[in-house]
Symmetry: C3
Amino acid sequence: MTTPHVALVARRVPSRPSNMRLDSGDSMPIVTDHVKVATRGDCDIHDLTDAVAALVRRHGFREGQALVFVTGSTAGLTTIEHEPGLLQDIPALFERLAPKGAHYHHEDTWHDGNGHSHVRAALLGCSLTVPFADGQLLLGTWQQIVLIDF
Amino acid sequence: MTTPHVALVARRVPSRPSNMRLDSGDSMPIVTDHVKVATRGDCDIHDLTDAVAALVRRHGFREGQALVFVTGSTAGLTTIEHEPGLLQDIPALFERLAPKGAHYHHEDTWHDGNGHSHVRAALLGCSLTVPFADGQLLLGTWQQIVLIDF
Amino acid sequence: MTTPHVALVARRVPSRPSNMRLDSGDSMPIVTDHVKVATRGDCDIHDLTDAVAALVRRHGFREGQALVFVTGSTAGLTTIEHEPGLLQDIPALFERLAPKGAHYHHEDTWHDGNGHSHVRAALLGCSLTVPFADGQLLLGTWQQIVLIDF
Protein backbone atom coordinates (compact mmCIF):
# COMPACT_ATOMS: atom_id res chain seq x y z
CA MET A 1 0.00 0.00 0.00
CA THR A 2 1.34 3.40 -1.00
CA THR A 3 -0.41 6.55 0.16
CA PRO A 4 0.65 9.54 -1.93
CA HIS A 5 -0.25 12.92 -0.52
CA VAL A 6 -1.98 15.49 -2.68
CA ALA A 7 -1.53 19.09 -1.57
CA LEU A 8 -3.70 21.65 -3.35
CA VAL A 9 -2.90 25.35 -3.47
CA ALA A 10 -5.80 26.94 -5.23
CA ARG A 11 -8.40 29.55 -5.77
CA ARG A 12 -11.69 28.19 -4.61
CA VAL A 13 -14.88 28.44 -6.58
CA PRO A 14 -16.42 31.63 -5.22
CA SER A 15 -19.43 30.63 -3.18
CA ARG A 16 -20.09 33.84 -1.28
CA PRO A 17 -20.58 37.50 -2.13
CA SER A 18 -17.23 38.83 -3.31
CA ASN A 19 -17.31 41.75 -0.88
CA MET A 20 -17.53 39.42 2.11
CA ARG A 21 -14.67 39.85 4.48
CA LEU A 22 -12.12 37.07 4.60
CA ASP A 23 -10.81 35.66 7.83
CA SER A 24 -7.47 33.99 8.17
CA GLY A 25 -9.00 30.57 7.63
CA ASP A 26 -10.14 31.56 4.15
CA SER A 27 -7.19 33.63 3.09
CA MET A 28 -4.98 30.73 2.03
CA PRO A 29 -6.95 27.89 0.53
CA ILE A 30 -4.45 25.11 1.00
CA VAL A 31 -5.72 21.58 1.47
CA THR A 32 -3.59 18.53 2.14
CA ASP A 33 -5.28 15.24 1.38
CA HIS A 34 -4.19 11.79 0.27
CA VAL A 35 -5.21 8.83 -1.83
CA LYS A 36 -4.59 5.17 -1.12
CA VAL A 37 -3.10 2.91 -3.77
CA ALA A 38 -2.59 -0.84 -3.38
CA THR A 39 0.84 -1.42 -4.94
CA ARG A 40 2.91 -4.56 -5.31
CA GLY A 41 6.34 -3.13 -6.17
CA ASP A 42 8.56 -4.39 -9.00
CA CYS A 43 7.89 -1.33 -11.18
CA ASP A 44 4.15 -1.45 -10.62
CA ILE A 45 2.59 1.56 -12.42
CA HIS A 46 -0.67 3.13 -11.21
CA ASP A 47 -2.75 5.81 -12.87
CA LEU A 48 -3.59 8.47 -10.24
CA THR A 49 -5.25 10.94 -12.60
CA ASP A 50 -8.87 10.28 -11.65
CA ALA A 51 -8.04 10.29 -7.94
CA VAL A 52 -6.25 13.66 -8.15
CA ALA A 53 -9.01 15.16 -10.31
CA ALA A 54 -11.60 13.95 -7.80
CA LEU A 55 -9.79 15.73 -4.96
CA VAL A 56 -9.76 19.00 -6.92
CA ARG A 57 -13.54 18.68 -7.35
CA ARG A 58 -14.25 17.50 -3.80
CA HIS A 59 -12.55 20.53 -2.27
CA GLY A 60 -14.34 22.90 -4.65
CA PHE A 61 -11.15 24.27 -6.17
CA ARG A 62 -11.19 26.14 -9.47
CA GLU A 63 -7.68 27.28 -10.37
CA GLY A 64 -4.36 26.38 -8.80
CA GLN A 65 -1.70 23.74 -8.41
CA ALA A 66 -2.00 20.11 -7.34
CA LEU A 67 1.21 18.88 -5.76
CA VAL A 68 1.37 15.08 -5.78
CA PHE A 69 4.01 13.73 -3.42
CA VAL A 70 4.85 10.15 -2.59
CA THR A 71 5.98 9.50 0.95
CA GLY A 72 8.70 6.83 1.08
CA SER A 73 11.90 6.26 -0.83
CA THR A 74 11.11 3.36 -3.19
CA ALA A 75 8.39 4.95 -5.35
CA GLY A 76 8.24 7.89 -7.74
CA LEU A 77 5.88 9.99 -9.83
CA THR A 78 5.72 11.10 -13.45
CA THR A 79 3.26 11.43 -16.31
CA ILE A 80 2.95 8.97 -19.18
CA GLU A 81 0.41 7.92 -21.74
CA HIS A 82 -1.08 5.06 -19.73
CA GLU A 83 -1.29 2.38 -22.41
CA PRO A 84 -0.16 -1.27 -22.41
CA GLY A 85 2.99 -0.75 -24.49
CA LEU A 86 4.50 1.89 -22.23
CA LEU A 87 3.56 -0.16 -19.16
CA GLN A 88 6.24 -2.56 -20.48
CA ASP A 89 8.66 0.06 -21.85
CA ILE A 90 8.98 2.07 -18.62
CA PRO A 91 9.98 -0.95 -16.48
CA ALA A 92 12.42 -1.96 -19.25
CA LEU A 93 13.98 1.52 -19.12
CA PHE A 94 14.56 1.33 -15.37
CA GLU A 95 15.89 -2.23 -15.64
CA ARG A 96 18.46 -0.89 -18.12
CA LEU A 97 19.38 2.18 -16.00
CA ALA A 98 19.50 0.45 -12.60
CA PRO A 99 19.31 -3.33 -13.03
CA LYS A 100 17.65 -5.39 -10.32
CA GLY A 101 20.51 -7.92 -10.33
CA ALA A 102 23.36 -5.42 -9.88
CA HIS A 103 25.15 -5.04 -6.57
CA TYR A 104 23.94 -2.17 -4.40
CA HIS A 105 25.74 -1.11 -1.24
CA HIS A 106 22.31 -0.40 0.23
CA GLU A 107 22.08 -4.17 0.66
CA ASP A 108 25.07 -4.09 2.99
CA THR A 109 23.01 -1.92 5.34
CA TRP A 110 19.58 -3.53 5.19
CA HIS A 111 19.80 -6.86 3.30
CA ASP A 112 16.27 -6.25 2.02
CA GLY A 113 16.99 -6.75 -1.68
CA ASN A 114 15.58 -3.40 -2.80
CA GLY A 115 18.69 -1.36 -3.60
CA HIS A 116 17.51 -0.98 -7.20
CA SER A 117 14.14 0.37 -5.98
CA HIS A 118 15.81 3.12 -3.96
CA VAL A 119 18.14 4.14 -6.78
CA ARG A 120 15.35 4.22 -9.38
CA ALA A 121 13.05 6.26 -7.10
CA ALA A 122 15.82 8.79 -6.43
CA LEU A 123 16.32 9.23 -10.17
CA LEU A 124 12.64 9.62 -11.06
CA GLY A 125 11.68 11.88 -8.16
CA CYS A 126 8.88 11.86 -5.62
CA SER A 127 7.03 15.10 -6.36
CA LEU A 128 5.04 16.33 -9.34
CA THR A 129 2.94 19.47 -9.58
CA VAL A 130 0.07 19.76 -12.04
CA PRO A 131 -1.75 23.05 -12.65
CA PHE A 132 -5.52 23.17 -13.01
CA ALA A 133 -7.96 25.78 -14.28
CA ASP A 134 -11.77 25.79 -14.51
CA GLY A 135 -11.57 22.84 -12.14
CA GLN A 136 -9.74 20.68 -14.72
CA LEU A 137 -6.18 19.36 -14.53
CA LEU A 138 -4.19 20.81 -17.45
CA LEU A 139 -3.04 17.39 -18.66
CA GLY A 140 -2.98 16.27 -22.27
CA THR A 141 -5.53 13.72 -23.46
CA TRP A 142 -2.81 11.08 -23.58
CA GLN A 143 -1.03 12.17 -20.41
CA GLN A 144 -1.80 10.52 -17.09
CA ILE A 145 -0.30 11.06 -13.63
CA VAL A 146 1.33 7.78 -12.59
CA LEU A 147 2.84 6.43 -9.43
CA ILE A 148 5.60 3.86 -9.98
CA ASP A 149 6.28 1.57 -7.04
CA PHE A 150 9.78 0.28 -7.73
CA MET B 1 3.95 23.44 -31.57
CA THR B 2 4.18 22.86 -27.81
CA THR B 3 2.26 25.09 -25.42
CA PRO B 4 3.63 24.79 -21.90
CA HIS B 5 1.45 26.23 -19.16
CA VAL B 6 2.90 28.59 -16.59
CA ALA B 7 1.00 28.78 -13.32
CA LEU B 8 2.06 31.52 -10.94
CA VAL B 9 1.36 31.47 -7.21
CA ALA B 10 2.63 34.74 -5.92
CA ARG B 11 2.46 37.84 -3.86
CA ARG B 12 1.55 40.70 -6.14
CA VAL B 13 3.33 44.03 -6.12
CA PRO B 14 1.17 46.07 -3.76
CA SER B 15 -0.66 48.61 -5.88
CA ARG B 16 -3.26 49.78 -3.41
CA PRO B 17 -3.27 51.10 0.15
CA SER B 18 -2.30 48.20 2.40
CA ASN B 19 -5.33 48.67 4.63
CA MET B 20 -7.71 48.18 1.73
CA ARG B 21 -10.06 45.33 2.25
CA LEU B 22 -9.45 42.22 0.16
CA ASP B 23 -12.20 40.49 -1.72
CA SER B 24 -12.06 36.89 -2.75
CA GLY B 25 -10.71 37.78 -6.17
CA ASP B 26 -7.61 39.28 -4.60
CA SER B 27 -7.08 36.84 -1.78
CA MET B 28 -5.30 34.18 -3.82
CA PRO B 29 -3.18 35.62 -6.58
CA ILE B 30 -2.95 32.58 -8.79
CA VAL B 31 -2.65 33.12 -12.50
CA THR B 32 -2.52 30.38 -15.12
CA ASP B 33 -1.08 31.45 -18.45
CA HIS B 34 0.84 29.80 -21.25
CA VAL B 35 3.54 30.38 -23.81
CA LYS B 36 3.70 29.01 -27.33
CA VAL B 37 6.86 27.31 -28.58
CA ALA B 38 7.37 26.08 -32.13
CA THR B 39 9.12 22.73 -31.63
CA ARG B 40 10.27 20.14 -34.13
CA GLY B 41 10.87 17.11 -31.87
CA ASP B 42 13.99 14.91 -32.00
CA CYS B 43 15.38 16.32 -28.73
CA ASP B 44 14.76 19.91 -29.74
CA ILE B 45 15.77 22.16 -26.78
CA HIS B 46 14.11 25.55 -26.23
CA ASP B 47 15.04 28.23 -23.72
CA LEU B 48 11.84 29.36 -21.95
CA THR B 49 13.52 31.65 -19.42
CA ASP B 50 12.64 34.98 -21.01
CA ALA B 51 9.07 33.89 -21.65
CA VAL B 52 8.53 32.81 -18.02
CA ALA B 53 10.21 35.96 -16.69
CA ALA B 54 7.97 38.07 -18.93
CA LEU B 55 4.85 36.43 -17.48
CA VAL B 56 5.99 37.18 -13.92
CA ARG B 57 6.35 40.85 -14.92
CA ARG B 58 3.18 41.04 -16.98
CA HIS B 59 1.04 39.85 -14.08
CA GLY B 60 2.75 42.25 -11.67
CA PHE B 61 4.01 39.52 -9.37
CA ARG B 62 6.76 40.16 -6.87
CA GLU B 63 7.48 37.01 -4.85
CA GLY B 64 6.26 33.49 -5.39
CA GLN B 65 6.57 30.34 -7.43
CA ALA B 66 6.37 29.85 -11.18
CA LEU B 67 5.21 26.34 -12.05
CA VAL B 68 6.12 25.46 -15.62
CA PHE B 69 4.21 22.44 -16.90
CA VAL B 70 4.25 20.86 -20.32
CA THR B 71 0.99 19.35 -21.49
CA GLY B 72 1.57 16.17 -23.51
CA SER B 73 3.66 13.07 -22.97
CA THR B 74 6.60 13.47 -25.36
CA ALA B 75 8.26 16.60 -23.94
CA GLY B 76 9.90 17.49 -20.64
CA LEU B 77 11.38 20.36 -18.64
CA THR B 78 14.62 21.00 -16.79
CA THR B 79 17.25 23.70 -16.37
CA ILE B 80 20.63 23.75 -18.15
CA GLU B 81 23.27 26.23 -19.10
CA HIS B 82 21.93 26.98 -22.58
CA GLU B 83 25.16 26.88 -24.59
CA PRO B 84 26.03 25.06 -27.84
CA GLY B 85 28.04 22.25 -26.22
CA LEU B 86 25.27 21.09 -23.91
CA LEU B 87 22.74 21.37 -26.72
CA GLN B 88 24.66 18.40 -28.17
CA ASP B 89 25.44 16.65 -24.87
CA ILE B 90 21.84 16.47 -23.61
CA PRO B 91 20.50 14.76 -26.76
CA ALA B 92 23.50 12.38 -26.61
CA LEU B 93 22.61 11.52 -23.01
CA PHE B 94 19.03 10.63 -23.90
CA GLU B 95 20.16 8.66 -26.96
CA ARG B 96 22.34 6.60 -24.60
CA LEU B 97 19.60 6.13 -21.97
CA ALA B 98 16.69 5.43 -24.33
CA PRO B 99 17.97 4.90 -27.90
CA LYS B 100 15.77 5.94 -30.79
CA GLY B 101 16.44 2.68 -32.61
CA ALA B 102 15.51 0.30 -29.76
CA HIS B 103 12.26 -1.61 -29.76
CA TYR B 104 9.45 -0.05 -27.74
CA HIS B 105 6.17 -1.84 -27.06
CA HIS B 106 4.48 1.54 -27.41
CA GLU B 107 4.94 1.01 -31.17
CA ASP B 108 2.74 -2.08 -30.99
CA THR B 109 -0.11 0.17 -29.86
CA TRP B 110 0.31 3.22 -32.05
CA HIS B 111 2.94 2.52 -34.77
CA ASP B 112 3.93 6.19 -34.64
CA GLY B 113 7.67 5.66 -34.14
CA ASN B 114 7.94 7.77 -30.99
CA GLY B 115 8.34 5.18 -28.22
CA HIS B 116 11.70 6.69 -27.31
CA SER B 117 10.11 10.15 -26.97
CA HIS B 118 7.55 8.88 -24.45
CA VAL B 119 10.12 7.02 -22.38
CA ARG B 120 12.55 9.96 -22.30
CA ALA B 121 9.80 12.43 -21.33
CA ALA B 122 8.63 10.16 -18.50
CA LEU B 123 12.19 10.04 -17.15
CA LEU B 124 12.84 13.78 -17.33
CA GLY B 125 9.47 14.92 -16.02
CA CYS B 126 6.93 17.48 -17.17
CA SER B 127 6.84 19.95 -14.30
CA LEU B 128 9.39 22.38 -12.89
CA THR B 129 8.84 25.05 -10.27
CA VAL B 130 11.09 28.10 -10.04
CA PRO B 131 10.85 30.58 -7.15
CA PHE B 132 11.07 34.31 -7.73
CA ALA B 133 11.63 37.31 -5.47
CA ASP B 134 11.74 41.03 -6.19
CA GLY B 135 10.12 40.11 -9.50
CA GLN B 136 13.18 38.08 -10.60
CA LEU B 137 13.42 34.33 -11.16
CA LEU B 138 15.97 32.87 -8.72
CA LEU B 139 17.97 31.19 -11.47
CA GLY B 140 21.74 31.21 -11.73
CA THR B 141 23.41 33.29 -14.43
CA TRP B 142 24.23 30.11 -16.35
CA GLN B 143 20.96 28.36 -15.63
CA GLN B 144 18.08 28.53 -18.11
CA ILE B 145 14.63 26.90 -18.06
CA VAL B 146 14.43 24.59 -21.07
CA LEU B 147 11.71 22.61 -22.76
CA ILE B 148 12.92 19.46 -24.50
CA ASP B 149 10.62 18.13 -27.21
CA PHE B 150 11.70 14.52 -27.57
CA MET C 1 29.30 26.49 -1.38
CA THR C 2 25.80 25.90 -2.72
CA THR C 3 22.91 28.02 -1.52
CA PRO C 4 19.60 26.35 -2.31
CA HIS C 5 16.53 28.55 -2.01
CA VAL C 6 13.54 27.39 -0.03
CA ALA C 7 10.26 29.03 -1.00
CA LEU C 8 7.33 28.34 1.30
CA VAL C 9 3.70 28.76 0.28
CA ALA C 10 1.73 28.08 3.38
CA ARG C 11 -1.01 28.69 5.83
CA ARG C 12 0.48 30.29 8.88
CA VAL C 13 -0.27 29.20 12.41
CA PRO C 14 -3.10 31.55 13.36
CA SER C 15 -1.74 33.98 15.92
CA ARG C 16 -4.44 36.65 15.86
CA PRO C 17 -8.21 36.73 16.24
CA SER C 18 -9.68 35.13 13.14
CA ASN C 19 -11.95 38.08 12.46
CA MET C 20 -9.03 40.46 12.20
CA ARG C 21 -8.86 42.17 8.87
CA LEU C 22 -6.11 41.08 6.53
CA ASP C 23 -3.94 43.53 4.72
CA SER C 24 -2.12 42.70 1.52
CA GLY C 25 1.03 41.80 3.44
CA ASP C 26 -0.80 39.00 5.22
CA SER C 27 -2.98 37.77 2.44
CA MET C 28 -0.38 35.61 0.74
CA PRO C 29 1.98 33.97 3.16
CA ILE C 30 4.85 33.32 0.82
CA VAL C 31 8.35 33.40 2.22
CA THR C 32 11.52 32.94 0.21
CA ASP C 33 14.54 31.99 2.28
CA HIS C 34 17.71 30.00 1.72
CA VAL C 35 20.14 27.66 3.42
CA LYS C 36 23.89 27.50 2.94
CA VAL C 37 25.58 24.18 2.25
CA ALA C 38 29.34 23.69 1.97
CA THR C 39 29.68 21.31 -0.99
CA ARG C 40 32.75 19.88 -2.69
CA GLY C 41 31.29 18.54 -5.94
CA ASP C 42 32.03 15.08 -7.37
CA CYS C 43 28.55 13.74 -6.46
CA ASP C 44 28.67 15.11 -2.95
CA ILE C 45 25.31 14.33 -1.25
CA HIS C 46 23.93 16.56 1.54
CA ASP C 47 20.90 15.98 3.72
CA LEU C 48 18.81 19.19 3.74
CA THR C 49 15.86 17.80 5.69
CA ASP C 50 16.60 19.42 9.04
CA ALA C 51 17.38 22.76 7.41
CA VAL C 52 14.09 22.80 5.47
CA ALA C 53 12.10 21.68 8.52
CA ALA C 54 13.73 24.45 10.57
CA LEU C 55 12.62 27.08 8.04
CA VAL C 56 9.02 25.84 8.21
CA ARG C 57 9.13 26.26 12.00
CA ARG C 58 11.02 29.57 11.98
CA HIS C 59 8.41 31.22 9.75
CA GLY C 60 5.56 29.83 11.84
CA PHE C 61 3.99 27.90 8.99
CA ARG C 62 1.47 25.13 9.60
CA GLU C 63 0.27 23.68 6.31
CA GLY C 64 1.57 24.20 2.80
CA GLN C 65 4.32 23.45 0.33
CA ALA C 66 8.07 23.83 0.68
CA LEU C 67 9.69 24.35 -2.71
CA VAL C 68 13.40 23.56 -2.56
CA PHE C 69 15.28 24.94 -5.55
CA VAL C 70 19.00 24.85 -6.30
CA THR C 71 20.38 27.84 -8.14
CA GLY C 72 23.11 26.81 -10.60
CA SER C 73 23.37 24.13 -13.25
CA THR C 74 25.68 21.51 -11.73
CA ALA C 75 23.62 20.38 -8.72
CA GLY C 76 20.24 18.71 -8.27
CA LEU C 77 17.69 17.65 -5.67
CA THR C 78 15.84 14.46 -4.81
CA THR C 79 14.86 12.38 -1.80
CA ILE C 80 16.67 9.24 -0.67
CA GLU C 81 17.11 7.19 2.45
CA HIS C 82 20.26 8.92 3.66
CA GLU C 83 22.33 5.87 4.68
CA PRO C 84 25.94 4.91 3.84
CA GLY C 85 25.10 2.30 1.21
CA LEU C 86 23.02 4.61 -0.97
CA LEU C 87 25.63 7.36 -0.59
CA GLN C 88 27.78 5.01 -2.71
CA ASP C 89 25.00 3.66 -4.95
CA ILE C 90 23.72 7.04 -6.14
CA PRO C 91 27.14 8.26 -7.35
CA ALA C 92 27.64 4.86 -9.02
CA LEU C 93 24.31 5.31 -10.83
CA PHE C 94 25.30 8.70 -12.22
CA GLU C 95 28.74 7.45 -13.18
CA ARG C 96 27.00 4.74 -15.22
CA LEU C 97 24.47 7.13 -16.81
CA ALA C 98 26.86 10.03 -17.57
CA PRO C 99 30.49 8.94 -17.00
CA LYS C 100 32.99 11.52 -15.84
CA GLY C 101 35.54 10.35 -18.40
CA ALA C 102 33.28 10.60 -21.47
CA HIS C 103 33.63 13.41 -23.98
CA TYR C 104 31.22 16.31 -23.51
CA HIS C 105 30.88 19.10 -26.05
CA HIS C 106 30.40 21.44 -23.09
CA GLU C 107 34.18 21.17 -22.67
CA ASP C 108 34.66 22.72 -26.10
CA THR C 109 32.95 25.86 -24.80
CA TRP C 110 34.40 26.20 -21.32
CA HIS C 111 37.29 23.71 -20.84
CA ASP C 112 36.33 23.43 -17.17
CA GLY C 113 36.06 19.63 -17.01
CA ASN C 114 32.53 19.52 -15.65
CA GLY C 115 30.45 18.45 -18.65
CA HIS C 116 29.33 15.36 -16.73
CA SER C 117 28.14 17.56 -13.84
CA HIS C 118 25.90 19.63 -16.11
CA VAL C 119 24.41 16.60 -17.82
CA ARG C 120 23.71 14.79 -14.54
CA ALA C 121 22.11 17.88 -12.97
CA ALA C 122 19.85 18.37 -16.00
CA LEU C 123 18.67 14.77 -15.69
CA LEU C 124 17.99 14.85 -11.94
CA GLY C 125 16.35 18.28 -11.82
CA CYS C 126 16.80 21.33 -9.66
CA SER C 127 13.42 21.68 -7.96
CA LEU C 128 11.57 19.55 -5.45
CA THR C 129 8.37 20.41 -3.60
CA VAL C 130 7.51 18.79 -0.27
CA PRO C 131 4.12 19.28 1.38
CA PHE C 132 3.80 19.85 5.12
CA ALA C 133 0.92 19.69 7.58
CA ASP C 134 0.77 20.36 11.33
CA GLY C 135 4.14 22.02 10.84
CA GLN C 136 5.79 18.72 9.79
CA LEU C 137 7.21 17.80 6.40
CA LEU C 138 5.25 14.84 4.98
CA LEU C 139 8.37 12.76 4.41
CA GLY C 140 8.73 9.09 5.26
CA THR C 141 10.91 8.06 8.17
CA TRP C 142 13.53 6.80 5.73
CA GLN C 143 13.17 9.61 3.23
CA GLN C 144 15.45 12.63 3.36
CA ILE C 145 15.68 15.69 1.11
CA VAL C 146 19.14 15.67 -0.47
CA LEU C 147 21.16 18.09 -2.54
CA ILE C 148 23.64 16.42 -4.91
CA ASP C 149 26.51 18.62 -6.04
CA PHE C 150 27.74 16.91 -9.20
